[in-house]
């Protein structure tokens, strides 16, 4: 008992090299395990992204999975390079997606790599359709009638600021009950053809069976740091007014080979309306659904029949 401290001291002196060696070995093991953990996390992230890229409807055919391996050395091109090429069956003109969201299209193909032009490139163009979100989904995001909203906070700095007026009829249909729409002045009967105009025109009355407003147009990229635009081909009021937040999807083509992009691929949402003079119709700035800065895995779609 009395000699125990001395024994411990002697054991400490005698076993010190073993303890130091064990300490060094444990530190190495810890470092190795930390490295393994980091690698496991990276592989897990890759696997998640690959699964997201592979989450594609089979109606588009069997996609070719590819990994983004580089960007463009130019300041004007908006392209990325992928690690699959003609050896893997990739051809110029094929559309590139993440999940069911359009990323761009193949513009150059080599044996083991290919170049993808992103939808933000100024040379990119694809036929799209813009559809309002159905009322059930839009209720939460509705804006009061006639209220002007300033430019969205997510609009890149330096962009020209415009105001957006939300269509009156859109909100009216969701806020005015059917009974109040037929309130008539004086003692006029509801169905009296000679009655003065009502406070709400009949054509704006709620119509639950009417499809959401839709416009067809062309999505065109606008270069670095700018969102693409949808240039409306025709200004047809009978198709309805497009709301902020409306969904932009590829329209495909009714004729074989009319469009290289399959229909109904998600492109983004309408960020704001660009009012333009003339009869060409208005344009819409589109917030892409894909974060191009963090692209990792993509899927290349086969050409549509006749494309």
């Amino acid at each position: 008992m009395v000699t125990r401290p001395a024994e411990n001291a002697w054991r400490g002196i005698r076993d010190y090299p073993d303890v130091a060696e064990e300490n060094r070995r444990l530190k190495e093991q810890l470092a190795q395990q930390e490295a393994d953990h980091l690698q496991w996390q990276a592989e897990l992230q890759d696997a998640r992204e690959a699964m997201a890229a592979a989450n594609l409807d089979t109606k588009y055919g069997t996609p070719i999975q590819a990994r983004v391996i580089g960007g463009t050395p130019s300041n004007f091109d908006q392209t990325v390079e992928i690690d699959k090429g003609s050896n893997n069956g990739i051809e110029i003109g094929q559309m590139v997606v993440v999940g069911q969201t359009l990323v761009g299209k193949i513009t150059e193909v080599q044996s083991d790599r290919a170049t993808v032009m992103l939808i933000t490139d100024a040379r990119f163009s694809v036929a799209v359709k813009v559809e309002n979100v159905p009322d059930d989904d839009a209720t939460e995001a509705s804006v009061p009638t006639g209220e002007e909203t300033s430019s969205d906070s997510s609009v890149p700095e330096g962009e020209e600021s415009t105001t957006t007026t939300v269509a009156e009829e859109t909100t009216t249909t969701t806020t005015v009950p059917a009974e109040t729409t037929t309130t008539l002045p004086g003692n006029a009967q509801p169905n009296d053809p000679l009655a003065p105009p009502t406070t709400l025109p009949p054509e704006t009355a709620p119509d639950a069976t009417a499809p959401p407003a839709r416009q067809n147009g062309s999505l065109e990229g606008r270069g670095p740091e700018r969102n693409p635009y949808v240039v409306r081909v025709s200004d047809s009021p009978r198709f309805g007014q497009i709301d902020i937040g409306a969904v932009v999807r590829t329209s495909g083509g009714s004729i074989a080979g009319e469009s290289l992009a399959p229909a109904d691929l998600l492109v983004g949402t309408v960020l704001r309306q660009i009012l333009q003079a003339g009869s060409g119709g208005d344009s819409y700035e589109v917030r892409p659904a894909v974060a191009f800065g963090s692209l990792d895995f993509v899927a290349v779609l086969p050409r549509p029949p006749g494309g």
């Binding site: 463009t72 004007f76 513009t107 032009m117 040379r123 740091e225």
Partner: protein, 178 residues
């Protein structure tokens, strides 16, 4: 055999290819303020300062042609614009007899800026859709500043590549007599 190594075209390729690899890899990922530094443009402009307008046009054409090989833009567009940039840099540099280091850097900056602005204009002239936006200002500033920083070593490299003899060399970059 050794004489062929003195040919300017071969020397331009010897410099241009490694720099092109650097441009397509490291400089593509390293983007200060989101802008890719244009090393090939730097070599084009430096060629003009080192060898004068005609050799600058040659250096610019070669560097631009190499750059076109890795881009999706129309083949020859960069060769054209960079050739003009090399010629412009050589012409500006020839307007003065003495060329102190600060003037060399200034000419590199001005020629780089002019070329960066000229590229989308040239693209538009041949029917390419290139967005001329406010981002062009930022791109021009970043590219010019980066090229100014590396102007002196680039001019030194291009003097070797173009095999500039003493009488043709600008005073400020002329080698000291041994």
């Amino acid at each position: 055999m050794l004489e062929i190594l003195r040919h300017p075209l071969l020397r331009l390729l010897m410099i241009g290819l490694p720099v092109l690899a650097l441009q397509d890899t490291m400089l593509t990922d390293m983007r200060p303020a989101g802008v890719a530094i244009q090393a090939m443009l730097l070599l084009a402009v430096a060629g003009g300062i080192a060898g004068g307008p005609e050799r600058g046009a040659l250096a610019g054409f070669v560097m631009g042609f190499l750059f076109d090989l890795v881009l999706t833009s129309p083949m020859g567009l960069h060769a054209l614009v960079y050739g003009l940039a090399g010629f412009l840099a050589g012409y500006i540099n020839s307007l003065t007899l003495d060329h102190p280091r600060w003037l060399v850097m200034l000419v590199v900056g001005v020629a780089s800026a002019a070329c960066t602005v000229a590229y989308p204009v040239a693209s538009a002239m041949i029917g390419e859709d290139v967005a001329i936006t406010s981002a062009l200002i930022k791109i021009t500033v970043v590219v010019s500043v980066a090229n100014i920083v590396f102007a002196v070593p680039a001019v030194w490299l291009l003097r070797w590549a173009l095999h500039v003899r003493e009488p043709d060399a600008p005073l400020s970059v002329r080698e000291e007599p041994v």
